[in-house]
């Protein structure tokens, strides 16, 4: 049936081949032109699973303060300039930053009025002190403690110069706010950076660096905006004096760096692969028409990219990066057809003999890629579409267009233009030796495979480049904060609601991981219900009698230090002040800064963040706390990695099983023989075992990209198995050994080019594909024939 289909299509094409070739040529040219108009996407989100938690974390990162903030660290390059010079240069730099790419620049803070601000903040003391603090306060109202406190205030008045702290001390004669002051210090340092404030500037401990914080409307996952922003800042950095260095620390740098690495890799891979393909075809086949074998997949891929760009809204750079691999796979079909025709110089008759294995080989590969349609990862679905369309088009061009040009090509004696096909050694001892050696190698690699470990850290897929990583290393060396804390996010529709849930979470977190390990704004500013309860307790505590008792103590013991009678009036004034619970502190720099760090306004509500060490036990404990509070969740690098890993892992196991089943099913349909199907699976088994053994042997770990690459290899090497088994069965003189060798060589060129990639994802894929294809190729040629002779057709020694 397939043969009659082949005949009727080819007779039709023969009549219109010029028109069809011209049409395809125009289509390819249009596709090339279209390449520059396609909407490309360089965000990593395309390559992440559409898992509810992962999407939530990504959304949080996009909406949180981190994704639209970046830090620029300035340093002095020489010893002749001073911190003052540096601050001046940084100040001028900040002044030059303008909208629309920069929203706000924070280059200095003003802590000089911190004691005054604290004195103002103590207005809220009645709302902020909980029952324990009131107990402690109660114990301090006695002659000895009051005397000690008054002595302390007196002594502080003897410090040189300005009496910064006096207004604050007079507002809190019992010193009950020390806990609040400590909390402010702790919350300010919760991101773990070693920052010293000098003259309002953020300065490093060595006084040779300063930093500014830049707020931008460009979110870090927005690839093209990130590039504009980075370019803009780098241009401004060029205007700095020569003695000042500047490092940009931002997620945007990773977005741009990854894009640059992928682009460079695509260019490098394309150059290496193209040159190698052309050299191989021109020098081995010595036939200009052979270049067509290479051009067919290129043309097919160009058209497919355009179609993919039309079907999907955007085209992922990562998917485009896989095109050299697809080309390496897709040219196999052209090679089989070309070798079959040239071998016998038989034109369409020879093509007919390889039609079925080529078609079915193509279908199994499409099947392997097509299972990615079932993936929840948008990028994988795009890859499935692009590769399936590419291979399908390549099959059509190869089987129906190429033969019409090859059949009229100059027929050359085999052996003069092509190397002779490998002649298998046919002896029983040889067969047994090969099979035993194969089994031994597999066994050895299976033992090695026991050391195979999964690498869950998605940060290893970061190909931002050495410049970005070096800048970050320098930054952490100067400012610390290398180990970022994990974040607990409270999400609510209103700020007040968020404050209240945040307070409940804080109370629970104190119980589970301890207050010292959990930096929460609730420690300073609890929710309204809590503040209401505190206020009620405060009013009950400060009865007229208690107030009178304390006033008397202050007067009596204050005389010895010459305190004026109304020295502590600021404290007594606030005792019964009207407190509006709905109003939060305004006009206090320190509170605004903390709020900026902990509260994020998002679309339709607010997120309040709390920070804690990124440890598995804390994440587990706080995730349990979150489960009792809807709208709260934990975000951490480790947790995020394991979330992605879990989501990918479960999906990939399912897809991998489906892929193998589909491959086996296609092979069985082609061969209609169980034994031969099993034999055709020899390269599949071999490549999987070899990859599993080679990865730990190379000191690497199994990663998601390598699992995906293994699935692609399965599709490729099964083709080799099918061709060799098909050859063993039918013994058509279509140059199968030679064709498989060239097919493997071209695929290895495509996959081997990936080994030159700098992006870790591409390198990982290249390493797996090269190992798998090489193992699959060798096992197809060396292991299948002996197994066939021993198991299927022992009597037939001609195979």
């Amino acid at each position: 049936m397939l043969n009659s289909l082949f005949d009727s299509i080819n007779s039709l094409l023969e009549r219109h081949k010029l028109f069809i070739a011209a049409s395809i040529g125009i289509l390819i040219l249009l596709s090339v032109a279209n390449l520059f108009r396609l909407p490309y996407d360089n965000t990593i989100e395309t390559m992440l699973p559409v898992d509810r938690d992962i999407m939530r974390d990504m959304r949080f990162l996009r909406e949180s303060g981190f994704s639209d903030k970046l830090v620029i660290s300035f340093g002095l390059k020489d010893e002749t300039h001073t911190l003052e010079d540096l601050l001046h240069a940084a100040g001028q730099f900040s002044d030059r930053l303008e909208p629309p790419l920069v929203k706000e620049v924070i280059s200095r803070i003003s802590p000089q009025n911190m004691p005054q601000e604290m004195a103002s903040f103590l207005h809220y003391l009645p709302q902020l002190l909980g029952p324990e603090a009131l107990d402690a306060m109660s114990k301090k109202i006695n002659p000895k403690d009051v005397q000690d406190r008054l002595r302390f205030i007196y002594r502080q008045s003897l410090t040189p110069g300005i009496s910064f702290s006096i207004p604050y001390l007079l507002t809190d004669p019992l010193g009950v706010s020390s806990g609040i002051v400590n909390n402010i210090g702790k919350l300010s340092m919760s991101l773990g950076y070693d920052v010293v404030v000098k003259e309002g500037h953020l300065v490093s401990k060595d006084s040779r660096h300063t930093m500014i914080i830049v707020k931008t409307p460009v979110i870090l996952t927005e690839g093209f905006g990130a590039r504009d922003l980075v370019n803009y800042l780098q241009e401004r950095i060029k205007e700095l004096p020569e003695y000042v260095s500047a490092d940009i620390i931002a997620g945007h740098m990773h977005t741009v760096g990854n894009e640059d690495t992928v682009k460079r890799d695509i260019w490098l891979i394309t150059c290496i692969a193209t040159t190698s393909f052309l050299l191989l075809f021109l020098f081995v086949f010595r036939d200009p028409v052979a270049v067509g074998i290479f051009l067919i997949p290129v043309g097919a891929i160009l058209v497919s990219i355009s179609i993919t760009g039309f079907v999907f809204d955007t085209l992922s750079y990562f998917v485009v990066g896989m095109c050299s691999v697809i080309a390496g796979i897709a040219d196999d079909y052209g090679i089989f057809v070309y070798v079959a025709v040239r071998k016998k110089a038989g034109g369409l008759e020879s093509v007919k003999k390889v039609f079925t294995p080529v078609l079915l080989g193509g279908l199994t590969t499409i099947g392997t890629f097509a299972v990615f349609f079932l993936s929840s990862i948008p990028g994988y679905r795009q890859l499935a579409f692009l590769s399936s369309v590419s291979i399908a088009l390549c099959l059509v061009f190869t089987l129906f267009l190429l033969p019409h040009y090859l059949s009229k090509a100059k027929i050359v004696e085999p052996g003069k233009t092509m190397p002779p096909p490998a002649i298998p050694i046919r002896s029983k001892r040889y067969d047994h030796f090969v099979i035993a050696l194969w089994v031994l190698i597999l066994a050895a690699m299976m033992i090695q495979a026991k050391n195979l470990h999964m690498d869950n850290d998605i940060a290893r897929f970061d190909g931002a480049g050495p410049e970005v990583f070096s800048a970050e290393d320098r930054f952490h060396e100067t400012w610390g904060g290398k180990i970022l804390p994990a974040i607990l996010v409270v999400s609510a529709g209103t700020l007040e609601e968020a404050y209240q849930v945040n307070t409940e979470i804080y109370e629970a977190a104190k119980q589970t991981i301890g207050a010292d390990n959990f930096s929460s704004l609730a420690a300073l500013w609890p929710g309204m219900n809590t503040r209401k309860d505190n206020l009620l307790r405060w009013r009950n505590f400060w009865s007229p009698e208690k107030e009178e008792e304390f006033k008397k103590l202050l007067l009596e013991h204050g005389r010895a230090f010459d305190f004026s009678e109304d020295a502590f009036q600021p404290f007594f004034e606030q005792l019964h002040q009207t407190q509006d619970l709905t109003v939060e502190p305004v006009g206090l720099d320190f509170f605004d800064r903390l709020k900026d760090q902990f509260v994020v306004k998002k679309q339709g509500g607010y997120n309040i963040l709390s920070y804690f060490p990124d440890q598995a036990d804390y994440i587990a404990a706080l995730s349990a706390v979150c489960s009792g509070h809807p709208g709260t969740f934990v975000v951490s690098r480790k947790h995020f990695s394991s979330e992605i890993s879990n989501a990918l892992g479960s999906e990939i196991v399912y897809i991998a099983i489906l892929s193998v089943l589909l491959t086996v099913a296609f092979t069985f349909i082609l061969l209609r023989d169980l034994k031969m199907t099993i034999l055709a699976m020899v390269p599949l088994v071999t490549c999987i075992v070899m990859i599993a053994g080679a990865i730990p042997l190379s000191g690497l770990k199994l990663s998601m990209p390598s699992i995906l690459a293994t699935m692609v290899v399965v599709g490729i090497v099964t083709d080799y198995g099918v061709f060799i088994v098909y050859y063993c069965k039918n013994r058509y003189e279509t140059g199968t050994y030679l064709a498989v060798t060239f097919a493997a060589a071209t695929t290895l060129i495509g996959t081997g080019a990936l080994l030159f990639a700098h992006h870790p994802v591409m390198f990982s894929i290249g390493m797996t594909l090269t190992t798998g294809v090489f193992a699959g190729y060798l096992s197809s040629l060396i292991v299948i024939p002996p197994l066939y002779r021993c198991w299927v057709n022992e009597k037939d020694q001609m195979v």
Partner: protein
């Protein structure tokens, strides 16, 4: 005197007085001159008398003691009366001790972002590096030789939240301060008078300790 003679006398008079007048209205030049002279001083040891007029106290707070400065990072303030108290600042840390509690309190300035700037304010008035203050303060020359200057923070300066005015008077050789007067926004006033200053002499290392018997 003829008209010509009168004209010549005016030229001579202006020639003599113009540079003096111009010099007096250029505080930057005076600041640079003082900074230059004070930069020659690496260590200072002096007696001080501080008078603080604070609203919280019935009478002015009078204290006496010794001050030690070793540029750029060491500062010691030792009060002998009315109570023995000392405060030592070394780089990013502050220690203080008093006779009555006999306890040493240690404060890391890096952990107290607000506090470090308070200390920076104290240090700047004693260091003489005033030219950097021009951006944030309006400077008025009260007297030229020996110099007496008045600093008033600009409205946009963070210091304006706290300080109303600072007046500094120098010794005749302008190598160190004779007096500092600080008026705060809240009305509190501080005057520190220095005497018996020893410049560029070796300072006893115990001056940087907060032990009670250290000096």
């Amino acid at each position: 005197m003829t008209r010509t003679g009168s004209w010549k006398a005016w030229v001579i008079f202006l020639g003599i007085t113009f540079p003096v007048v111009c010099g007096a209205s250029d505080p930057k030049a005076i600041l640079l001159r003082i900074e230059q002279k004070m930069s020659e001083v690496k260590t200072i040891e002096a007696d001080f008398t501080q008078e603080k007029i604070l609203a919280a106290f019935k009478r002015p707070l009078l204290s006496k003691g010794k001050i030690f400065i070793q540029k750029p990072l060491l500062f010691s303030w030792r009060v002998d009366a009315p109570v023995r108290y000392c405060m030592v600042i070394k780089e990013d840390s502050l220690k203080q001790w008093d006779e009555e509690t006999k306890q040493v309190q240690h404060i890391s300035l890096t952990d107290k972002p607000g506090f470090s700037d308070v200390i920076a304010q104290i240090k700047i008035w004693f260091s003489g590096e005033y030219s950097s203050l021009v951006k944030e303060y309006a400077v008025k020359v009260l007297s030229e030789e020996p110099a007496q200057l008045e600093f008033s923070p600009n409205a946009s300066s963070p210091a304006a939240e706290v300080i109303k005015t600072v007046r500094v008077a120098f010794e005749s050789d302008e190598r160190y301060l004779r007096e500092i007067y600080i008026e705060e926004k809240g009305g509190d006033k501080t005057t520190i008078t220095f005497s018996s200053a020893k410049l560029n002499t070796a300072i006893d290392p115990s001056a940087w300790e907060v032990k009670p018997d250290a000096k």
